[in-house]
Symmetry: C2
Subunit: 205 residues, 2 copies
């Protein structure tokens, strides 16, 4: 595609490097920027640069934060459970369910030999340190990783690595989604949901 | 949606003001920016600010340009025909067809009383000046505007306004798109394509 000016071409190239934005969408963005007042572009540019330069990561749980001290230090939460996730959006999704009141630990990726990511590239040692620190009194680790090859590999590695530390290790349940029809479920999920079936506790409350 | 930090919230808000990008896509962009090196964000911010601050518009045809002198001044093109379009993307689309070698004139919008846009907000006077300037020797004006109410209103207004200037006025053909099936064509287009049918010139070359 030929662009009318070099400035437009440069801007389209930069914007289309962002996820989910192709050249055509980038051109629409460019034309919008040209149509709006210069302040519109200024506040966009300022917001992304501030984001990049001033975002901090908690030194304990590696969660994104405005400061280096985050919710994992406040005592409002159940500090005996740590939920291990790949990245910040997973935390947001879990928080959104309002079903979890424990702490988090962001490992920052998944083991993937193809992409050259090994266990040493992830925040695993700091997780071990947290568990071993008697002050934190950690009793359970919940693995909440994706159900793909990389997620399963990482979960398996973590389970083996954390086994000697004397904590309970669990993983989020896999199965047919609520509202999902059996007919359309994939075979692997359906098979696993039968093998890992949950007993009704008829004596419970 | 609750965001982990104020910096992320601000960036998501700014990015989601762009066309075609919702809050979820904006969050994906934010996480990408945080994952890449700071230079990635810097060159994005620089490109959009340069675009906004340094883009010029040709003072004759109002086309976007790196300088104030554009192709409408170079003699490589047929200067006797001017194609009137709404905005720059339309020029790019027409250029892309490689079927037009004349000049352009960007009116910068369409007449739309609902949005408070009247004829005085468009680059119409400068079009009249171009036609009246004997030096340019303009013979034909092609109206290439959208086929919606605003486009038709603007075309009608222009046709009336330009009538006394003694130039040929034409509009791009409306009809069934090439490759389009009659069965699926909308009634209005099909009806119009019958009324405005084109005679076969069997004696032509």
């Amino acid at each position: 595609m030929e662009y009318p000016t070099i400035l437009i071409e440069n801007a389209v190239n930069e914007i289309s490097k962002l996820p989910g934005i192709g050249k055509k969408s980038a051109l629409r963005v460019v034309l919008k920027l040209l149509k709006e007042k210069p302040e519109f572009t200024d506040s966009l540019a300022e917001a992304v640069q501030k984001l990049r330069n001033e975002t901090k990561y908690c030194r304990i749980c590696h969660m994104i934060n405005d400061t280096e001290d985050c919710t994992c230090i406040t005592p409002r939460r159940d500090t005996s459970v740590i939920c291990v996730v790949e990245d910040t959006p997973d935390i947001m999704a879990i928080q959104h369910t309002a079903q979890y009141n424990g702490l988090f630990h962001v490992i920052g990726g998944l083991i993937s030999p193809i992409d050259g990511i090994g266990p040493d590239d992830l925040n695993i040692q700091s997780l071990i340190d947290r568990i071993q620190n008697a002050e934190y009194n950690v009793k359970e680790i919940i693995l909440a990783l994706s159900t793909n090859m990389e997620g399963d590999t990482t979960a398996f590695y973590l389970a083996k690595k954390l086994k000697p530390l004397n904590v309970k290790i669990s993983t989020i349940a896999r199965g047919i989604p609520i509202g999902g029809e059996l007919e359309f479920a994939d075979e692997i999920t359906l098979g696993r949901s039968i093998v890992k079936r949950i007993s009704y506790d008829l004596n419970g409350d």
